[in-house]
């Protein structure tokens, strides 16, 4: 990563970059280094969370020993699992407590340690200051603190596996009172969450201030790239929604360690006797506090992905985005509406039933700006000259995949059909379509797109295309059957679904899902190889390898400390491609007329 580093621009800006490996690459205050730290860390967490899910899918594919099971002849995989987890996976069959632990940890890791840090912190940190023409974030030290706080929070959450009684096992949603009476791992989860939320708040404040105060001369809000708009809206969501969960988590922590009863109702019985200190609390209160964060959180996962897709599509269709104002407006409307839909997760929670009508209405309403975003991105293809490079393939695949995710939200957000689908695999299929073949592949596309800017070299196109097909096809074989199983009534979070005879007719799909999951895992190896191989051997990229217009392509690749040799000035909108009469088919924002 060092060989392509240039230092020419750093001194021109009046302050030299730090010298020495530790201050330059470990405890760095440079937004680019912090962004790459976030990128690598969150990809590692994604790998960990994915591996956990492979163990769970193994269990779900063959949940119980069949007639031909012979403990003497376990086979390679069962033998390995038996050897690795003698207590929790004897003979390769998973103990339900271990299943619940992996389930809770998979969700927590993928969302809070994987996709959010990747979409918001990694790309936001690396790209956003470059795109607005700033030398760094507004508060570089706060930025560094945000990363290290996140890492500590992640380690605290992971270390819960070592706790007495194991990792948290009440789902990533940690519904009280189950979570209050759960073993010690839950306390680790709560402390870890408070730390991670604090980290996100540091980041959110920094993003908002940077975007609003540090834009280059001439870069009005109306000329700001869609990606920066998405990051700005996301930061506002984090700032307003996360404190609610932080408070909720602290209350649950007090319930567990300080003998309070915020979530424990009167006369609750646990272990055949009345639970000490039971009384006065409400289990539903936790759900309100949790989902007040966790629904805007869905858009925290989604908005940066939409921003990335918009950037990649504009660059690779070689034409302006369709309906820039409509797009930006829709992102803002989504941000506002995302605060008043949370209770659609709670239609059947025991919440006053008439409230459902309000939340059905707001939920149906939020689909409109989402439709508008998809419409604009689709119509952006019209009249273009589409280049099918790897980042573009991922960005294009986002559109139909997010389409399935969004459409399947309709029967869930609509209360009468939710009666049947609530808490089934249909829900799992739905939100994974939004987050995995949706957000995550957009983020992978973003990695291919900005990799040349990060490291000065392009990733290999052939391997990239192999990775693309090996990702998108297996993902559909993983998640689509879940919709079918859920439609048939298979509930989520079952360690052995075959214990319930109503699930038997759809059990076969789990075998298909398991196989597809393994193929998906293998499909990530070309990416891993490509990422490290291209650091040294990739095609050298100039400042602007994609012939793009936005400001991050106006500085060298990789950008030196301080980014721009001279502060850039902006003369036009972000997507001036194929302007009639202009000599090239792109007209960079900072190029004087």
């Amino acid at each position: 990563m060092t060989d392509a580093h240039g230092h020419a621009g750093a001194h021109a800006h009046g302050h030299a970059g730090p010298q020495g490996f530790i201050w330059k690459y470990v405890f760095s205050v440079d937004h680019k280094v912090i962004g790459i730290q976030y990128l690598v860390t969150s990809f590692l967490f994604l790998l960990v969370g994915f591996s956990m899910m492979l163990l769970m899918r193994w269990q779900l594919a063959v949940p119980t020993p069949g007639d031909d099971f012979d403990p003497e002849k376990l086979g390679m995989i069962r033998g390995l699992l038996n050897w690795m987890f003698p207590e929790s996976m004897p003979f390769g069959f998973m103990d339900p407590v271990f299943y619940n632990q992996l389930g809770a940890m998979h969700g927590t890791i993928m969302i809070f340690l994987g996709v959010v840090p990747l979409g918001v912190a990694a790309f936001g940190n690396f790209v956003m200051p470059l795109q607005i023409g700033a030398p760094d974030m507004a508060f570089p030290r706060l930025n560094m603190m945000s990363y290290w706080t996140y890492l500590v929070g992640g380690i605290v959450i992971m270390s819960s596996f070592l706790a007495d009684g194991g990792a948290p096992q009440s789902g990533w949603t940690s519904y009280a009172p189950l979570s209050v009476v759960a073993p010690a791992g839950q306390t680790y989860w709560l402390i870890g969450m408070v730390i991670i939320i604090t980290s996100s708040l540091f980041g959110a404040i920094n993003f908002i201030v940077t975007t609003l105060n540090m834009r280059a001369k001439g870069l009005t809000l109306g000329r700001m790239p869609v990606f920066c708009w998405a990051q700005l809206v996301t930061a506002v969501l984090l700032l307003l929604a996360f404190p609610v969960l932080e408070a909720g988590a602290l209350l649950q922590l007090l319930d567990r360690v300080a003998g309070t009863s915020f979530y424990i109702p009167k006369d609750m019985i646990y272990g055949a006797t009345v639970f000490p200190r039971a009384g006065g609390g409400s289990p539903i209160l936790w759900q309100h506090l949790f989902w007040f964060l966790a629904h805007p959180e869905v858009y925290v996962l989604l908005l940066p992905a939409m921003g990335i897709v918009a950037e990649i599509i504009a660059t690779n269709t070689r034409k302006p985005l369709f309906g820039y104002k409509e797009l930006v407006g829709s992102l803002c409307v989504i941000g506002v509406l995302s605060f008043i839909v949370w209770a659609h997760h709670m239609f059947l929670s025991g919440m006053r039933t008439s409230l459902a009508n309000l939340f059905v209405t707001t939920t149906m309403t939020i689909s409109i700006p989402s439709v508008a975003v998809l419409t604009c991105l689709l119509l952006s293809l019209r009249g273009g000259t589409i280049r099918f490079n790897t980042p573009m393939l991922f960005a294009l695949a986002f559109l139909p995949m997010f389409g399935i995710g969004g459409l399947t939200g309709l029967p869930l957000g609509f209360a009468p059909t939710d009666l049947h689908l609530h808490d089934t695999y249909y829900v799992i299929g739905h939100f994974h379509y939004v987050v995995a073949p949706g957000s995550l592949i957009a983020l992978i596309g973003g990695t291919y797109y900005w990799y040349p800017k990060m490291f000065g070299r392009k990733m290999n196109e052939k391997l990239g295309k192999v990775h693309f097909w090996m990702t998108v096809i297996p993902m559909n074989f993983v998640f689509f059957p879940m919709l079918i199983q859920g439609m048939y009534g298979m509930q989520r979070r079952l360690a052995t679904p075959t214990d319930q005879w109503h699930n038997l007719p759809v059990q076969g799909w789990s075998m298909l899902i398991g196989i597809a999951g393994a193929v998906l895992f293998v499909g990530q190896l070309p990416f891993l190889w490509n990422f490290f191989w291209s650091l040294k051997h990739g095609e050298v990229a100039g400042a602007n390898p994609w012939n793009a217009t936005t400001l991050e392509w106006a500085c060298p690749s990789p950008p030196p400390h301080g980014n721009f040799a001279t502060p850039p000035e902006v003369f036009r909108g972000p997507y001036e491609y194929s302007v009639p009469g202009h000599k090239t088919d792109y007209w960079p924002q900072d190029e004087a007329a």
């Binding site: 039933t353 559109l399 059909t417 049947h420 609530h422 808490d423 038997l504």
Partner: protein
């Protein structure tokens, strides 16, 4: 349709009065979803082909149809408003907000615990015996007060709910410990059971037979095994069952010895 291999798809057999309404909506929504996705997808694939990069071709800078692009938004909005007004609010109200008249229905109390479903029937007197949290023990799972005259003929069952066909059953539900969720996929309904709170679920079975109860809210290590059966019987069979239960009940001690009338979870197919 391949039962043996477990690759079934679609909805499970519908067995309650409102299931057909929900299934109709489910069909409508999915038809619309598939239509939108296919129409959208065709245009998408057309664009990818039609506007692929070719030598010497330059993309068009000018956009057209900006106001036409709001048509999909408007259509979706109109569809959703119609959906909410025509079905959402009335159907939700009839299933979740209104209860069938108690006189024409069977009312049963359901007290969930890790990891079992305890049902309490009022018995011939039509009155539920008092439950008292301090009386809860391993033998008296729901804490039934033996001194309350109304409790003498109450029927207590575990994991088995016998109900008459074509007559509404109203479940008044709560949980002793953590949150559970009562789901019968064939009835197309479910509801959380929350400690410290009473929730309600009613259904009118339209088919005789056995339907599985599953817990749909993660409730701990035995979540998967928290199952039961709804046995829908003819009016006469149900009356016989009830008579037999009461006879057994009044013949034994007055505390609810639920174990003796447990029909056995292994009777499940």
């Amino acid at each position: 349709m391949n039962d043996e291999w477990g690759y079934e798809w679609g909805l499970p057999v519908a067995a309650s009065s409102y299931a057909s309404d929900i299934d109709w909506l489910m069909g409508l929504l999915h038809a619309v979803m598939i239509f939108i996705f296919v129409a959208w997808g065709i245009f998408f694939v057309y664009c990818l082909f039609r506007y692929r990069a070719r030598d010497g071709q330059r993309a068009s800078y000018h956009q057209s149809g900006e106001s036409a692009s709001f048509i999909p938004d408007a259509l979706v909005l109109a569809f959703e408003v119609w959906l909410i007004l025509a079905f959402g609010i009335p159907l939700w109200a009839s299933i979740k907000q209104e209860t069938p008249p108690a006189k024409e229905s069977l009312t049963v109390h359901l007290i969930a615990q890790q990891f079992a479903w305890n049902f309490q029937y009022p018995g011939p007197d039509g009155k539920f015996g008092r439950r008292e949290v301090s009386l809860v023990s391993a033998e008296n799972a729901i804490g039934l007060d033996p001194d309350d005259p109304a409790s003498k003929d109450d029927i207590i069952t575990i994991n088995n709910l016998n109900v008459p066909v074509d007559k509404p059953t109203i479940l008044r539900m709560t949980s002793k410990d953590v949150i559970h969720n009562f789901q019968v996929a064939n009835f197309r309904n479910k509801q959380d059971l929350v400690p410290g709170l009473e929730t309600m679920l009613w259904f009118e079975p339209t088919l005789e037979g056995k339907f599985e109860i599953g817990c749909a809210q993660l409730c701990g290590l035995g979540h998967t095994k928290m199952v039961g059966n709804v046995l829908v019987q003819s009016e006469a069979d149900f009356a016989d069952w009830q008579k037999q239960q009461v006879a057994e009940r009044t013949g034994t001690s007055s505390t609810a010895d639920a174990g003796s009338i447990l029909p056995g979870a292994d009777s499940r197919s």
